[in-house]
Amino acid sequence: MGISLSERFDALTKEKKKLLIPYIMAGMDDSWLDIVEAVIDAGADAVEIGLPFSDPILDGETIQEAGLLSLANGTTAFSVFAELAKRSLQVPLVVMTYYNIVAHSGHERFAGEAAAAGITGSIVPDLSLEEVGDWQDVARSHGIDSVLLVAPSTPHERTREICARSKGFVYAVARMGVTGEQGALSDDVHGVVSKIRAVPSPPICVGIGVSTPEQAFDVSREADGVIVGSALVRKILDGEGAQGAHAFVSSLREAIDR
């Protein structure tokens, strides 16, 4: 069985440790599982495992490209779960995909097989506060925490409701836009984090557009953790492999622990 996302993150946050969550698109590369192990070795506190979907409306070019590669490699949710189940990974694993992939399998089957593969968290960005209930109940019964998103555009009262419902951590969307690397952090980061700080919430992790150790450092001054996706996926697409991913995640770790 997997390691509880909420328990691990609550414990680390109590120790004042900043959380680091790298994202990897499952199946984008033959060695993707070695890369997952490498980023854990480099200091990841949890790993976000992307499952490809044909129509990812919250993803920019980099993750779209990785998703297409993964689909071309024949990746399915269940092939990923089967591969994950063969490894013993010592951090919580958070599956990230779009709702049709979950709905098509059926909540019960998806949650059951995910849990058997060691998954203890889920991010399904197109399941909004209004729609997430059914999935969240089934997921919880399998020990999976469902993480919800707060955006720069989310009003105060809605932020309170989302934070009350989000489990494991709350995903603070760093800018109004899709995933992808950027040269400078958006001014939205400060606004969205302080908006969440004003209400009771699980640990706050900031993602979407956090691309460099310097940016990760800046974000970690305000938030409890950072999620780095596109910048890491870009390195994998460029052929840097497990070694390159290890070096990059180590530099992120070093930056947020500074």
Binding site: D55, N100, E131, V173, M176, G177
Partner: protein
């Protein structure tokens, strides 16, 4: 309750919404088990804002009057109903066409874009983005934007920009910017994805003018309301022309906006409602339930839930989903959904042109193809059949030429 319809100039009966077959969706935007609002959190506030703005505008007589007067003075409404004398004789039925092909820009799409462009202005926004497949909705959006002085950017799959070069140029003439979409399958569904991705980044000053009865709540409902003028007009005209209630009301379906508008006028009547999908993009008859582009509906997908590409002779029907209200109407049996294939569609197009002097767009030619196949079989002799002629065929003539010339 009776109210004056300013467009038609006669009193029409207002039916209590709760009793209506095609009424308002529930608070979560559901039509039965379909619909909803499956979009990432950054877009939710924009959808809520739009829902509030639409409810407010649609209940405001000043807004409705401006919408109807633009459709009248600029859009060419009301469009007539034409009786097809020769084809009716051939088929042994009474065939009528609701002539949306005579509306400005050549299709029903104008009804929706005028409504949404007015709403854009009312929300204090000055930019519209839109997706387009064949280019009809893109051209209509560019037209409405030009009329109301809005900036307009149209997302169009790169493959479609190549297939519909003339429509790209039309949009540019109308002052719009056309952005070729190179992601995914480079067609309509990817244009929708890209428009949504862009909308997130500019939601403060930009409205997403969705082209069909699809997407997250309130789009499926709002677009149907902006299109219901087709069905409301047609129901009244049918009475005036002595047709009464037609036995069959037929419309083609891609996303389903022309059909939704037409059906809305007849949903509470005895007419049989028939939606005709392209057999290469038949979301209801060949699909299964799923979630795409913000809605739960019937989708064409593989066994893992990956969305498939739709393929037919008509780019306007090449959408792997269908509006959620259609999925619901099918579910409860109020409307029936059928298919037509490329070959019979081409024959239908040629027949209507040579027998009635009307070159239909390939989309409504699907509806006609079903009628031709079923007249005297599924459609009993003597039936009255009203087909929504949703668009004119000019845009398709070059394509039809190359297909027919290339044929043995």
């Amino acid at each position: 309750m009776w109210t004056m319809d300013p467009l038609i100039g006669v009193e029409v009966e207002m039916v209590d919404n709760a009793e209506m077959m095609m009424g308002t969706p529930d608070d979560d935007g559901r039509f039965g088990s379909f619909g909803g609002r499956f979009v990432p959190e950054p877009l939710i506030p924009a959808c809520l804002e739009l829902e509030a703005a639409f409810k407010d505008a649609w209940g405001d007589p000043v807004f409705v009057e401006e919408y109807e007067s633009i459709l009248h003075d600029f859009g060419g409404r009301p469009t007539p109903i034409t009786f097809c004398r020769r084809l009716s004789e051939d088929l042994g039925i009474s065939l009528y066409l609701k002539r949306e092909d005579l509306a400005h820009t050549g299709s029903h799409k104008i009804n929706n874009v005028i409504g949404q462009a007015l709403l854009t202005r009312r929300m204090g926004k000055h930019k519209m983005i839109a997706e387009t497949g064949a280019g009809q909705h893109g051209v209509a959006s560019a037209t409405a934007a030009a009329l109301l002085g809005l900036e307009c950017t149209v997302y169009m799959g790169e493959l479609d920009t190549q297939r519909q070069e003339l429509n790209v140029f039309r949009m540019e003439l109308l002052g719009a910017t056309v952005v070729p979409v190179t992601s995914g399958s480079k067609t309509l569904k990817d244009a929708v994805n890209e428009a949504m991705r862009t909308w997130v980044t500019q939601v403060d000053d930009t409205h997403y003018c969705l082209g069909s009865v699809m997407g997250p709540h309130p789009f499926p409902w709002m677009v149907r309301e902006f299109q219901r003028v087709i069905g409301d007009e047609a129901a009244l005209q049918s009475k005036e022309l002595g047709i009464g209630t037609p036995d069959y009301v037929v419309a083609c379906i891609g996303g389903g906006s022309n059909a939704a508008g037409m059906f809305a006028g007849f949903a509470d009547s005895t007419a049989q409602l028939i939606g005709v999908e392209a057999s290469g993009g038949a979301a209801i008859t060949s699909g299964s339930p799923g979630v795409l582009h913000g809605m739960r509906s019937q989708l064409i997908q593989d066994d893992q839930g990956q969305i498939s590409e739709a393929h037919s002779i008509s780019a306007g029907l090449d959408y792997p989903g269908i509006g959620p209200e259609h999925a619901h109407l099918a579910d409860i049996g109020r409307a029936r959904y059928e298919q037509a294939g490329d070959d019979e569609v081409l024959e239908a197009l040629q027949l209507l042109a040579s027998r009635e002097g009307i070159i239909p767009a390939l989309e409504p030619a699907h509806g006609l193809a079903w009628i031709l196949r079923e007249a005297g079989r599924g459609i009993p002799k003597g039936s009255s059949v009203l087909l929504n002629m949703s668009g004119r065929g000019d845009k398709d003539v070059a394509q039809v030429l190359s297909i027919l010339k290339g044929r043995p």
